[in-house]
Assembly symmetry: C2
Homo-oligomer: 482 residues x 2
Amino acid sequence: MAHKAALIGGGVIGGGWAARFLLNGWDVAVFDPDPEAPRKVAEVLANARASLPQLSDGPMPGEGSLSFAARISDACTGADYVQESVGERLDLKHRVLAEIQSAAPGVPIGSSTSGFKPSQLQEGAADPSTILVTHPFNPVYLLPLIEVVPSPATAPEIVARVKDTLTTLGLFPLHVRKEIDAHIADRFLEAVWREALWLVKDGIATTEEIDEAIRMGFGLRWGQMGLFETYRIAGGEAGMRHFLEQFGPCLTWPWTKLMDVPEFNDELVELIAGQSDAQSGHHSIRDLERIRDQNLVGFLRALKDRDWGAGRVLNAWDTARREEAMPGAEPLEMVRLTVLPGWIDYNGHMTESRYLFASSETTDAFLRHIGAGLDYVAGGHSYYTAETHILHKGEAKVGDQITGRLQVLAADEKRLHVFVTLARGEDVVATLEQMLLHVDMGAGRTCPAAPEVLERLMPIATAHAALPRPDGAGRFVGQRKS
Amino acid sequence: MAHKAALIGGGVIGGGWAARFLLNGWDVAVFDPDPEAPRKVAEVLANARASLPQLSDGPMPGEGSLSFAARISDACTGADYVQESVGERLDLKHRVLAEIQSAAPGVPIGSSTSGFKPSQLQEGAADPSTILVTHPFNPVYLLPLIEVVPSPATAPEIVARVKDTLTTLGLFPLHVRKEIDAHIADRFLEAVWREALWLVKDGIATTEEIDEAIRMGFGLRWGQMGLFETYRIAGGEAGMRHFLEQFGPCLTWPWTKLMDVPEFNDELVELIAGQSDAQSGHHSIRDLERIRDQNLVGFLRALKDRDWGAGRVLNAWDTARREEAMPGAEPLEMVRLTVLPGWIDYNGHMTESRYLFASSETTDAFLRHIGAGLDYVAGGHSYYTAETHILHKGEAKVGDQITGRLQVLAADEKRLHVFVTLARGEDVVATLEQMLLHVDMGAGRTCPAAPEVLERLMPIATAHAALPRPDGAGRFVGQRKS
């Protein structure tokens, strides 16, 4: 039976939580008195559907069902987990938490608050033991970080259960051991924000110049290593102690103006908002969301290839779901890709090598699926492509969602004959037929695949043998249509 | 003739500059009294050779020559540009700058300083007009950001010339219009660093927890959009003004401890260094450098595919080099490509989609040759690939020189049937057979090619008709060898 999450508050953050749960197969009930909430959640969900599956190398579970409840108690009935994402007012949060607890006693309640400590949320609660902070980062459906902050009154078994739940959603629960204002990450964001306001106010830099100073330099470093690991490298062979001794004294230099808060007035708002309009106003917010999401997908996939940082979280998420998956008698939907601007040729269509790229992504995902992924290759065996036929049937354009499905035409111990269909919705844009040979990489010749690979491959080949031979299989270049 | 850069100071930063210049075809002379300097520069250069070419989609220029000079004046002789990267002591920098200026009058001098303002560097200089700050970020051979900070005494034409030079190296010169302590980016780094020291000192979080709080969340955001563009999205449809109004008041909250500097003593050093050892000590610094570089390559390639942020800088760098290095178009030997590290799959061979990429480069060059290049396409006509057969006959590895040759199998007014051979020396690594159709792009259907194109194509087709039919032409996937 599907799990159920109750989400109290359905804005950008609540919508992001909804997408995380739904796309991982949970049913979701949302309570939000805002009549616009269903539209807002639907918009976040559309963005999530277009991006989160691109991080998965196996089929995603069937999407859970989404409903909107008229009362908090209705949303919470039967819930395994409750996430509170209402406005940042403590009295409001106290009232909402009391209603949740009377409807769903004993059920863990995570709060998305960035400003309150868990002990503040627990004040006056009937049962403080189920309440903790689970602070996400936007976009919730892509960024893995969740700050999990219990107070001493939160039950340790609740904390453990919540961390487990978050992990199954592909999230990274960071256990914050001591509660503190703004938890951890937002303290850094606040520090940078204050400095940025000064730089703009004093006319040193515009919002665009500040953004470039971040994303062309240290921002790239921080997405894959944090502050300390980066500086560890900067210390060179002499290491962290050397780095500290070299830069420690600079601490007393008067570089920052951080505790001295700039006056927040209309003039400052206009200055910043005007610069931001000049910088980004030619993109709509929806465009910026999509650009951001595709960039994040690119970063996360790069990290996943390298099993590093957030990519390691994604690999663990794949592995956990692969163990649940079952082979069926239909072509396997292995990948979903979005056609990116860099994949387009001067005709405005997806450049031809990207069709083969998309097909390779499909085949690679299939090889991982049958246990012939990177670990297997590291052991000295692999499948090599011997031959490929590509039939172009349509054209993909920027932004198209392409699904890659794979059918096994034939397989034996050494050979794997596959047929990949790349489609945009129901429209097939290309088919690719390939012969793969299993090789002993050291000896440089073909050899039988490992028994554990064949155990996963052959049942799929048998199931697929019942499928009709796909249109285009066996064609040669220039053959007349029969 | 090759350009020459003189680099004064050959540590990690000087070595990074050396790599940038050398791999872009500049000759480099380094002055550094440290007897270890040649080894240190060689190590940085090895890392750069293993990563920077992966960002290029065309052949890199031939590497420039590297020499070490015994005196500053020797290094500077004939230099087009001088970069100063000595230790952060103003008296030392003044002495070095004076020596440079007497050896290379009028030549632009960029300083890598993070701590000094250009007006400080210019104090007492014979010619302040050539001196400015060009502050890089480690690793210099991958991160595009260079803060270019002139003082009012720096000549505007020197600033323009330096920005041009940096751009040709694939860098992003950020012109900092008003000099200020620590320029822009390091002010943010300093702010985050101070907060991080407090969190560790107060036992709130370890170095590892802080790094996870950064790289699992906002670090990923900042590598592709900066602070303001990210928050613009957070403001949703209501935009930046809404965001500011919502979060402005939080500015007065006591979240940060930033101006209150923690005492820098042995206890703090041991605490941080010990935690950093526990977090990262199982990787050597060399390993961490390679991991970081490959992650950065992944991020940068993701951005390049999307033509966004640092990726846009890389695309411009490619385009500029492509225009310089137009290959001599010998008949039918259309391209020579070097297999780049980024084209390699986990088997250590050229990844299969790159065979098609190499073939497309060959075909595109041929289409230009017969007058059906970009200008022709702009007129609304083009050749589209309808069908491709790929036969893999060997494997290409990093550094291999691949030649792409094209044979016309058949051609008429609308159809162009070609056979591309990709070879390393005499060894054929793959053959690609393709059917191209000439189309009217507006009408979306085939049509005869323009007379001037057919006038160039048909004589070639006639000549090629006398050639033997190449081995592999007409094959279908899985066909037995005859």
